[in-house]
Symmetry: D2
Subunit: 228 residues, 4 copies
């Protein structure tokens, strides 16, 4: 396991202002706020920017996707070893915007492990979480697709689902970390997530489209630091 816990993950997705030099500038801001507040931040930039951000900041970065491939043929595929070489410490599997077959989830977890990447697998429900827990990934991201890009944080709307999720994890894969996402938009959401027992939380649009990302990140950093 390479990612620090607890943490708040900033997910760039493909949002304007998050790639190339803009993305690096935002990453440096995140890095600075992390140091100021003492809260751990981790970052998921686009694949072409992994090396740039990993080499220019101390933020742990992980890849937003990975393919179930080994060295050799496979034009255009994301090879775990090449992601690791570029500085990624993990990779996301089965994101709601990029679904994987069950067979690929298993293979991707194995390939990530072989390449030294944390395997982070996204699931929609407690049941889907239990299914993936059978493979003992490094992290399960519990995120209901309908909450993504909204401000309806599951921590507020369905806290009992988070509690059931954590109980399931404790029961079936106690070494696996739990992150919760989808609609997390504010420091109070983050606080509530940690109070419910998660190991990590994070956001995409709430951060990168915020009016004042620096202030928001500062408030979140304080909460993460106090959860440590």
């Amino acid at each position: 396991m390479s990612l620090p816990y607890p943490h708040f993950q900033v997910n760039y997705k493909l949002y304007p202002g998050t790639w190339g030099s803009d993305g690096l500038a935002l990453a440096k801001t995140i890095e600075r706020i992390g140091k100021q507040t003492g809260g751990n931040f981790v970052l998921t930039p686009q694949v072409p920017d992994l090396r740039l951000i990993a080499s220019e900041t101390d933020l742990p970065v992980f890849a937003p996707a990975v393919d179930s491939v080994s060295p050799g043929r496979g034009m255009g595929k994301r090879l775990p070893e090449a992601l690791a070489d570029a500085g990624a410490v993990g990779a996301v599997i089965n994101h709601a915007e990029n679904r994987d077959t069950l067979a690929d989830i298993e293979t991707k977890i194995e390939r990530c492990r072989a390449a030294g990447l944390d395997a982070i697998v996204c699931v929609d429900s407690v049941e889907m979480g239990r299914a993936v827990a059978a493979f003992e990934p490094d992290q399960l991201l519990f995120e209901r697709p309908g909450d993504i890009s909204t401000d309806r944080a599951i921590t507020r709307t369905h806290p009992e689902q988070i509690e059931r999720f954590i109980a399931m994890r404790d029961d079936t894969a106690p070494e696996t970390k739990v992150r919760v996402g989808g609609g997390i938009s504010s420091a109070p959401d983050v606080r509530q997530a940690f109070e419910l027992g998660v190991d990590a939380t994070g956001a995409a649009s709430a951060i990168v489209t915020a009016e004042d990302p620096e202030r928001l990140l500062g408030e979140i950093g304080e909460v993460v630091a106090s959860a440590e």
Copy 2:
């Protein structure tokens, strides 16, 4: 159109020894041989290495894949604008190891154009080439999937198909460049390709698994230079 013609494309795919610092070292060798021989080389590394090679060499690089997405959501997708920012001058669409829907081919060509990337579309046959020519991509790569990773160069086995392909291009999309691939393994193959009228050719396994890549690239560079 950003790529120089005529050229020989080296395709790294996921072959061992082609990513990270190894891939950069090979790219520098290719760059040096290009300057020594006067032949144009272009390179297709993995996506995490685009920026590294584009910033450390003068080789034109292009992305091995691209997604039909625009800025915003789209976790894990390859955004044309982010590829261009990393230094890519083009992107490959519909590779035999990564097939696209017809709808996506059309959208990807449009998105590449908007982001300033050359759109390079792979096809299997003269008929499929004619289909894609309707969208007037920057380059058509004519490659028969069964020839990939073999030494059965289409230039030797089916030269008449290359001639038909070029006649089709002249007829339907005269501005589109034609590259031929699949089994091209030696300087004589490259010479024959140019004699048949192609604008470019290239190889993956023949180069990156060659016993003496430097000598092979040198011989090819001479042929490319003489085709200019």
Copy 3:
């Protein structure tokens, strides 16, 4: 070519009331109206109902999908020969709700031809139509995805696109028939489509969710008969 022209196609999709005995009853109504009005109707039921409707009515039926497979392995795939044996006279390729790769479009057209099925390929635009026309399918269905399940018939909103589409067909694949769809909801829409020069038109939701399908089909049947 097995389908009669001109015709109006009724597309069942998965709408309630269109499978099993309900679907057969509606098919018999369509058959009767066709005979009464003299207008040709053709029907696209679900695959499990092809044989039922083909054997119990005289309507030409075609399959809503087909796979690019040959006899042998291929669990769950739709084999052209098995569809033909069940009574289908054609099959739909590249529907907007079921996109195909360009390579599969080519293979599916060939496999349909070998099995004696009309190949009906859906496209979104004149440019995509031109691309597929390179393979000379039996029928091109021109349907803009955004119009599907609406009442914004392209015949009313963009008649010039239909004219350009037909000119493209005349120019590149004169043997291929043109059907237009997407938002066709009334007899006047059908009349306008034929006046613009199409060989066929059709609808799904407008028919199967109509308040009085029998009256609507009767009006359409009259228009089709007068277009013959």
Copy 4:
């Protein structure tokens, strides 16, 4: 649960001689041998033939594939309700030749349940079986892809994997039935499978390409009958 246990499943896939009237004739042979021997046989024909075989024989039939759709739009999709109406008592999910995303596996199981179909989910390994067991499907089919269409029955090559699989089922989803497949080619293979504790077994190529299918089915029927 609709399927009888223990049983031997005959899987037609797309093999020559298994669709239309040929497939019906073979189904009648299977039905007759089942009655003669007292062993349960179940059959997986192609989708266009489900109704034909369900109505002309007493064999339980199930669909080789199903889609995660509900009534409405969804051109070409296999609607659980329409499969059930045609006579299917179950449907196959996640076959090695037709992989499903984890999200679709969950939805397909729910949709099958709602339509009254047994959900039969294919898995490659004990670990993948444990993952799917979280959804409590009616049947888990344990089949290693590399064994398909060979005569290397897992019952002979890896009996301990079957035992581990059954122990996993007993532990996590005791109501779920276990079928084993992949390389099962003879009555001794079937006997060994039942001795290892499976609820069902089956074959595709071994039956439909057998020199004397009737004799082979007769021997298998005796074994199934004795396992009841």
